[in-house]
């Protein structure tokens, strides 16, 4: 399929739905009915999301200023509206990865793959992640991946984002709060509800490792784990895999 229908009627009508599916289902089913209604009734959905494709969606997504589900009087965030738009599009895998990891190749950098480790300030703290330059677009892609992809892909694709410490504003019920990319992604992997959306139950990571479908996660801080062990005696033999 090289096109989809701009009209969300087709998306929301289960009987007639003939577009791409996610785990065999109409992608709209990833969201809760009441939330779906809120989204499709919103100004942002009607005016800013209509007719977007994978490329023009970027124009909107880079202007996102916060993540979240519904806020205030149950108003859906632009973030949530764009998440539904992504679900409607079901973009190709490499498109989603482009959203997630886009970085501009500049001449002096393009040949240097290990760049993140090199970018250090005098005191040794690395500067922020430059992958996924538009951080709210990255968060959007992460949320979509959690909803739409398979467990092994979810862990493999999202866990590198646990090293991304960039700040994100998040809409909570009554006010805005500050979170970070790593916290947001950790929540996606561990909570059962995020951004006014129930997250389908992931198999336990350790079970996927036992089945040889996934490698154990190696933290960037692995070398410093001794400090952790020293500060907490009962962890001494915790790594017996």
């Amino acid at each position: 399929m090289s096109s989809h229908y701009a009209d969300s009627k087709a998306l929301l009508d289960n009987r007639g739905y003939a577009g791409r599916t996610i785990r065999g289902k109409n992608p709209a089913e990833l969201f809760e009915r009441a939330v779906l209604d809120r989204i499709t009734e919103s100004y942002f959905w009607k005016e800013q999301c209509f007719g977007l494709n994978e490329a023009s969606l970027c124009d909107r997504a880079i202007e996102l200023r916060f993540v979240g589900g519904t806020y205030g009087q149950g108003k859906p965030t632009p973030f949530l509206c764009l998440a539904l738009k992504m679900a409607q599009l079901v973009p190709d895998r490499d498109v989603v990865l482009e959203y997630l990891n886009f970085e501009e190749a500049t001449e002096e950098r393009s040949s240097d793959d290990e760049r993140n480790g090199d970018q250090e300030t005098q005191n040794g703290a690395p500067l922020c992640e430059k992958k996924g330059e538009f951080k709210y677009l990255r968060a959007l892609a992460a949320f979509y991946i959690r909803l739409a992809w398979d467990p092994v892909e979810i862990f493999e694709t999202l866990e590198p984002l646990l090293n991304d410490r960039r700040k994100l504003r998040r809409a909570a019920k009554e006010q805005f709060t500050l979170t970070t990319m790593d916290q947001f992604v950790d929540d996606l992997l561990n909570k059962d509800r995020m951004c006014s959306t129930s997250l389908w139950k992931l198999p336990k990571r350790s079970d996927l490792v036992d089945l040889d479908k996934l490698e154990p996660r190696i933290s960037l801080l692995e070398g410093e784990l001794d400090d952790l062990d020293a500060s907490d005696g009962e962890l001494g033999e915790g790594d017996g895999a």
Binding site: H4, D7, K9, N53, A55, D94, E104
Partner: protein, 52 residues
């Protein structure tokens, strides 16, 4: 369900692939950098004028 019908004319939207998305993001990034630079220039000019 009237409101759903009102959302739009039915019409097909062309799909975009990863290459096109990448180009788009590159363009958006460059535009952003230029806008920021213009802001800095603007600010510089205003400061200059204020000093005179």
């Amino acid at each position: 369900k009237q409101h759903l019908v009102a959302i739009g004319e039915s019409g097909e939207v062309r799909r975009a692939g990863a290459g096109e998305v990448r180009e788009r993001l590159g363009w958006l990034k460059r535009r952003l950098v230029e806008e920021r630079r213009d802001e800095v220039v603007d600010l510089g000019e205003r400061l200059e004028r204020a000093r005179e």
